[in-house]
């Protein structure tokens, strides 16, 4: 039951904007720069540069939106292409690693939509490249980020083996949040949060970085999923509904 009193009312920002604001604040504090790039992306940055060969199932028509009359252009299926774009930009400016970069933004999958599937959603990509970047540092970074994002609760993470062509080793990260106030969907359960790994040498090479000298980690996390888990949202389609009955709760 709300009891509402009139007065000067402040509007509300979208929950995804709040999450991006928060994620950027946490990562900025850790020295990560917010990078961005085009949504209509070339197949090179979206696939080839990321070590996803031409015959990989991920490139099949059903997953990717291809642009009409624009050969080799797609709606980006992840923000991982920004790894390579960012490396190139830095090299162009004459800056060698270490690099710390995050890239929040919209990505697309050509799927029919329902309560748990959307064709457009928001992702945050992260990357750290240095001579001595390690998987152990990735664990610390993600632990720190998720602990801050779910402040006030007990947060644990664990790694599982997985496969993404642009990382080696590739891992999946699960999180468990405990606490009475944690939404039921999340409380005390291990849930899959994101994919990550050590950047594949071919990806470094494609970005103009010497993989013999440098190594790095990268991760990509769906922000809609984080919002759904954090606030107990029951339908992903609310994100793009423009419905203030949803937005004004945040």
């Amino acid at each position: 039951m709300h009891i509402y009193m009139p007065g000067t009312q402040k509007g509300h920002i979208h929950p995804i904007s709040s999450l991006i604001r928060e994620a950027n604040r946490i990562f900025f504090g850790m020295g990560f720069t917010f990078a961005e790039g085009p949504i209509v992306e070339s197949e090179w940055y979206n696939f080839d540069a990321l070590n996803v060969p031409k015959n990989h199932p991920a490139r099949d028509m059903q997953d990717t939106f291809f642009m009409k009359d624009e050969p080799e252009m797609v709606l980006r299926t992840h923000n991982s292409g920004l790894q390579v774009r960012y490396m190139e930009e830095q090299i162009k400016k004459g800056i060698q690693p270490p690099y710390r970069m995050i890239a929040p933004g919209k990505v697309f999958r050509n799927e029919a939509t329902d309560m748990t599937h959307e064709a457009e959603f928001n992702y945050i990509e992260g990357m750290y490249i240095a001579e001595d970047a390690t998987l152990a540092q990735l664990k610390w970074t993600l632990e720190k980020f998720l602990k801050e994002l779910f402040k006030g609760f007990e947060v644990e993470i664990r790694f599982r083996p997985s496969f993404f062509p642009f990382v080696e080793p590739g891992i999946e990260v699960d999180m468990r949040v405990t606490g009475d106030r944690v939404p039921e969907k999340l409380r005390g359960k291990w849930v899959e949060m994101l994919g990550a790994g050590m950047i594949h040498p071919n990806v470094l090479k494609n970005g103009g970085i010497d993989p013999k000298k440098y190594q790095g980690f990268a991760f990509g996390m769906g922000l809609d999923r984080v919002a759904i888990l954090r606030w107990g949202i029951d339908d992903i389609r609310l994100m793009h509904s423009g419905d203030l009955r949803f937005i004004n709760q945040f």
Partner: protein, 595 residues
């Protein structure tokens, strides 16, 4: 992929642990498990084999090999080690491959005098546990071997083939084939066919032909154990919209060495359960798979993982995985088994070590302090500033779809077919959102709906970030999002304070207003007024808000708006009226005068 625990037991001397323990072992060291189902006294695990391991793990033997490494129990009965003699050359069968790139190996075994009939019970049960239908002993044998070692196989009736000149070639335009599923497939030169004296008898790696089927009339058979190009099979299977257990394996790219493993297995099994004699085998294998080597060092393993593993740890992982290696001065030179086509670079070996020792042993090591300050992103800074400015003016932020029914650019293949354009303006989306929200104003407690969106549009050949606004009083407008040239620090802006989202009712709501006179000293939120309204209006009242007050002659008039809504149904006027009746009676009994 469905994997039977009972079947896995065949590879080991000792009984495997419980299905749950196997699922855990695989989850944390190899593959995700999509579920475990009971099948009689067996447990069926649904293993999600990752695309990099489609070469070697789409089989019970592949999963057993993994479990052997993870649980550190020897794989004592490895079907790859089966020593069954198939070296006898066939005097009657010939095989011609048109393009060895598309078919690197083709083995054909000619078995005469088989007795086709029902499979023995163990075989039927093994297949049924995986959800497969038993067909007859010969066909079941080929399927069993595929699920056992991962090599797809096919059996033709040699008499029906009417020629023992087997060929592998591109299909010709206009050719057709009736598959074993009795569907007619139109063929084209992008598809590879198996032929008997040039007549198509099967779609290579995808489907066999009905004309050359195995049934009770069959006596002599040709068994095919071949290797086909993964990309060609995947394209063909997409083209025909036909994905089979065979094509799903070939498209992952298999080692041509596996063809011989499969042939030894199937020849032995068929002779055992269907009888007959092996006339001989033809093996067209122009370019045998070479040996490969990959090297890594203990130092490299630790440098990538951030661990402190020893040479003994690394060696142990390789031994458990069955990876032959030579070690010299901390350098491990590994010779991957021929089915492990995924092990190409040093990092692949590092992953193998990490999986086997377990990712839980990787510590969490802090990043060093950054050497340079991060940059402030100009566009994001501008967007954040706009968010703050417009929310301060009472505007709320919406995100609307980038897909539109008009625009300059469009996508080719939208699954739902509607709104294939990329928007060239934020205005239509904002206008729609305004219209959608207007009827909910009372529910939202707003006097006016005001919206903004910060989003990408595609206009004038460019992708640009726009800021759009709309309200009930002002028309929708948009402009390029601009901010200061060189911001140096992000502002400390508020985050959402929401703890939990509350789902809202999809049913319409009813509004009722009530105004009454109260003594001047009455506080609107005291128990006497607002609390009273809340209580008397009942559970269907979802919102009570004060919307007007004025004083006259020492009294104050309080006007409240009550919103009624149900999660289960559309409320009727009478339900709202009834609640309001209770509210009026309660107010009157407290001495308030209803206006």
């Amino acid at each position: 992929m469905k994997v039977s625990r009972k079947w896995l037991n065949n590879f080991f001397d000792a009984e495997l642990p419980s299905a749950e323990a196997l699922a855990d072992a695989l989850t944390f060291h190899a593959f995700e498990i999509d579920g475990i189902d009971k099948h009689g006294d067996d447990d069926i695990l649904d293993v999600k084999v990752t695309p990099n391991r489609g070469h070697d793990c789409l089989s019970h033997r592949g999963i057993a090999r993994e479990l052997s490494a993870i649980l550190n129990i020897p794989l004592t009965k490895d079907p790859f080690a089966l020593d069954y003699d198939i070296s006898k050359k066939s005097a009657e069968v010939t095989v011609t491959i048109e393009d060895a790139k598309l078919c690197p190996r083709y083995m054909a075994a000619y078995i005469k005098g088989v007795k086709v009939g029902p499979s023995p019970q163990w075989l039927t049960e093994a297949l049924e546990a995986l959800g497969q239908r038993s067909i007859n002993n010969v066909v079941d044998a080929t399927n069993l071997v595929m699920f056992n070692v991962g090599q797809p196989l096919h059996a033709f009736d040699a008499k029906r083939l009417s020629s023992l000149s087997i060929g592998v070639r591109a299909a010709r335009p206009g050719e057709q084939l009736e598959g074993l599923d009795k569907k007619i497939y139109e063929l084209n030169p992008k598809l590879l066919v198996i032929t008997a004296k040039d007549r198509p008898a099967g779609i290579a790696g995808i489907k066999g032909g009905q004309a050359d089927r195995i049934d009770a009339d069959t006596h002599d058979i040709i068994i095919e154990s071949a290797n086909f190009d993964g990309v060609a099979i995947r394209r063909g299977s997409q083209m025909l919209k036909l994905r089979t257990d065979a094509s799903a394996r070939f498209e992952q790219v298999l080692s041509p060495e596996l063809a011989a493993v499969g042939m030894r297995q199937v020849a032995k099994l068929i002779l055992e359960i269907a009888g007959g004699t092996l006339e001989g085998v033809v093996d067209q294998y122009p370019k045998p798979q070479g040996k490969t080597y990959v090297a890594t060092t203990v130092e490299q393993v630790n440098k990538l993982l951030g661990t402190q593993l020893t040479a003994a740890d690394v060696a142990d992982a390789f031994v458990r995985l069955g990876l032959a290696y030579k070690e010299q001065d901390g350098v491990f030179e590994v010779q991957p088994p021929q089915e492990r086509l995924d092990l190409l670079i040093a990092e692949d070996l590092v992953e193998e070590v990490a999986r086997i020792v377990g990712y839980d042993t990787v510590p969490a090591t802090p990043l060093p302090a950054p050497q340079t300050a991060p940059e402030v992103n100009k566009n994001f800074y501008a967007a954040e500033k706009a968010r703050e400015d417009w929310t301060n003016k009472g505007y709320s932020e919406v995100l609307t779809s980038v897909f539109a029914s008009v625009g300059e650019r469009m996508v080719l293949n939208k699954v739902d077919g509607v709104r294939p354009y990329l928007r060239d303006s934020l205005l239509p989306g904002l206008t729609d959102a305004l219209a959608k929200n207007k009827p909910n104003k009372d529910l939202l407690g707003l006097t006016e709906v005001k919206l903004f969106e910060i989003g990408t549009v595609w206009k004038g050949g460019r992708e640009c970030l726009m800021l759009g606004t709309v309200s009930e009083k002002e028309k929708a407008t948009e402009m390029l999002l601009v901010g200061p040239e060189n911001p140096t620090q992000y502002d400390d802006l508020p985050l959402s304070a929401a703890e939990r989202y509350q789902s809202f009712s999809k049913y319409p709501y009813i509004v009722r207003d009530i105004a009454f006179w109260a003594p001047k000293s009455t506080e609107p939120a005291t128990e006497l007024t607002q609390e009273l309204l809340k209580k008397e209006a009942g559970p269907l009242c979802v919102k009570v808000s004060l919307f007007d007050t004025f004083e006259k002659e020492g009294r104050v008039s309080l006007a409240f708006r009550l919103i009624f809504q149900s999660f289960e149904k559309t409320l009727t006027e009478s339900e709202a009226n009834e609640a309001m009746q209770k509210v009026s009676i309660a107010l009157k009994s407290k001495g308030f005068e209803i206006r």
